[in-house]
Assembly symmetry: C2
Homo-oligomer: 357 residues x 2
């Protein structure tokens, strides 16, 4: 019989324990970070507080720190509410899960909708008066701010597990097997606190996304209930939108492929979301990476107008199947003018890659 | 050296010959079928003529014979132009490539947008005066008609090949191998005139769709040019829309599975195209068939609002991969509220099927 202790000192016996402690947002270790008006947005409560603030005080100037998914989505939300929005990102691009050339489309869109984008600028601190944030200081400038959104990413909330001696892995996430068992008998874990397995790199991988957490929770639940289920791993799929621009990615991006030491080819095409002559046809750019020689699909990225992004699911499914780009050329995907050109743009990209491997 | 003869009696020598004669529309063998005002719509010219007629005479009453893709799309087009549209279909349902329960959503939509739908009625003839069609006679009624659209399907245009002694297969389509070679040395064929291979039923299959023809043409072209390419086959994917209703199908439908003598399970779910709370979230119904025991995915059908149909491509790709529904549960598909619920509806259907196999 094992036991856990709660904060007040009670011990609770268990046969099986599930750790589902999630993730904690990364907070900057700079002066003023605890001021009013700075929102981490990692909890529902934090979101409600922000919304109340927006409704009550009608602030006009917002600064977002971090150009990831949360930063993008908040930029859209605040621009649509009429605020002046600045976004500070320490890397030379937004959305580090995209290759720089694909992230450039996102930056272009952000600027077009009016976001003041400051790339390669580091957060140095916050100016505060009366406990309320007044400005954000970067290494290059000071940006007036009535409110600040922190979108700097998360880390697995694995302190409890670590304290209990449960082995951690990638980025401090809890190590689990396919059934979501930790390395300690009777202790299970699932969600943003655990390490996943990347089916393309065949390496441990940390990803904090609702869709993965949800699937892992189902697997852990079935196993805890006496059933049998496995979660084989992820291929790194994600999607978002910035106003009208849809953005999606799956598999490995260039820097990950390089890190693995694989030789690869790049195929990048621009096509249309529908038949070119059909009303509402929009732009779509598809980039595909494939292993040199074998032709194995390694990853894909898509940006474009309405209807572009969900096509990433074909690439994700192909990654699960371990398809080569050659095998993808003749995939029997759906075609009718309101939905696609006769060759889906994803297949055109695969076809181009197959000619290069 | 082989030779072909043109209509005027010339003989043209060839090393390689490609037959790309396409398909011919099925025409009813009933009185009046050659009257003015009856359109087969199998050629661009026929489409242009119809449009000129619509613009010039402003006809008000149209009858469509046949409830397949062409019939559906013409019904939409004519309703949007303000015509009174009747549709006659001899089967008890429209869209025979869908199971009856899924086709029922299409019938419902057709009626809702104002199409007069006559199911289980056979065409008996056309009433004609002054060479112009005036009405369509079925076995149950007479429908006044200023114009008639025939959407009764096509058959492979394989007469030339048959006359030359080239073996035909399914529905009289030209038999070809994966490289698009007929059984006669030096003679190739591609497009709507050839027989395909169905990767799910593992049987010969005839399908006349632009996307398949286009892929086959590429393969034939590469091989004719001295290269090497193959077209492995199709999984039977198709998509269309009837006003706002999107409709898609892939793989085998129930009657095909029954004909093969396979035991199967059905999972049918209703979900949302986006997260339920997100603006623009619409209805989606996904039906999945899987082999009893093995759990192998056999087919899928989707009807729903904007964003529903293109999800069929995930099922099509899974069919190419030979996935079981169990293997599909954890597919790492993209999720963000504007694009999908956390579990994509396609995965919810697969998950339900996995619980039944």
């Amino acid at each position: 019989m094992q036991k856990v202790r709660d904060g007040k000192g009670w011990w609770e016996p268990f046969d099986h324990l599930l750790i589902a402690t999630g993730a904690v947002p990364l907070c900057p270790d700079v002066p003023g970070a605890d001021a009013r008006g700075i929102y981490g947005l990692s909890t529902l409560e934090s979101g409600i507080q922000l919304r109340q603030r927006l409704d009550a005080d009608k602030p006009q100037q917002a600064v977002i720190v971090g150009g990831g998914y949360i930063g993008m989505e908040m930029a859209e939300g605040l621009i649509l509410r009429g605020l002046t929005v600045s976004l500070v990102e320490k890397e030379p691009q937004v959305m580090n899960t995209l290759d720089p050339d694909m992230a450039a489309f996102v930056s272009e869109k952000l600027r077009k909708v009016g976001v003041n984008l400051y790339l390669e600028e580091s957060l140095e601190g916050f100016e505060v008066s009366d406990g309320q944030v007044r400005a954000v200081a970067t290494d290059k400038r000071t940006l007036p701010a009535e409110l600040v959104i922190l979108g700097m990413g998360v880390r697995p909330n694995s302190t409890l597990a670590a304290d209990a001696g449960i082995p951690l892995g990638e980025k401090g996430a809890i190590r689990v097997n396919e059934r979501m068992q930790t390395e300690i008998q009777g202790v299970w874990a699932a969600g943003d606190c655990v390490q996943s397995y990347h089916l393309v790199s065949r390496r441990p991988f940390y990803v904090a996304l609702g869709t993965v957490a949800n699937k892992q929770g189902r697997v852990a639940g079935i196993n805890l209930g006496g059933g049998y289920a496995t979660f084989p791993g992820v291929v790194g799929t994600a999607v978002t939108k910035i106003c009208e621009l849809e953005v999606a990615r799956t598999g490995l991006q260039e820097k990950e492929v390089q890190r693995l030491g694989l030789e690869y080819v790049i195929a990048k095409i621009e096509g249309r979301t529908r038949s070119g002559y059909y009303p509402g046809s929009g732009r779509i750019i598809v980039k595909v990476l494939a292993e040199k020689g074998s032709g194995r699909l390694l990853g894909g990225q898509i940006v474009g107008d309405a209807g572009a992004a969900k096509r990433i699911d074909v690439l994700a499914t192909a990654l699960h199947a371990g398809f080569t780009v050659e095998e993808m050329i003749n995939l029997d995907l759906s075609y009718a003018p309101p939905f696609s050109p006769a060759w889906d743009p994803v297949l055109i990209a695969a076809r181009k890659a197959a000619g290069l491997v």
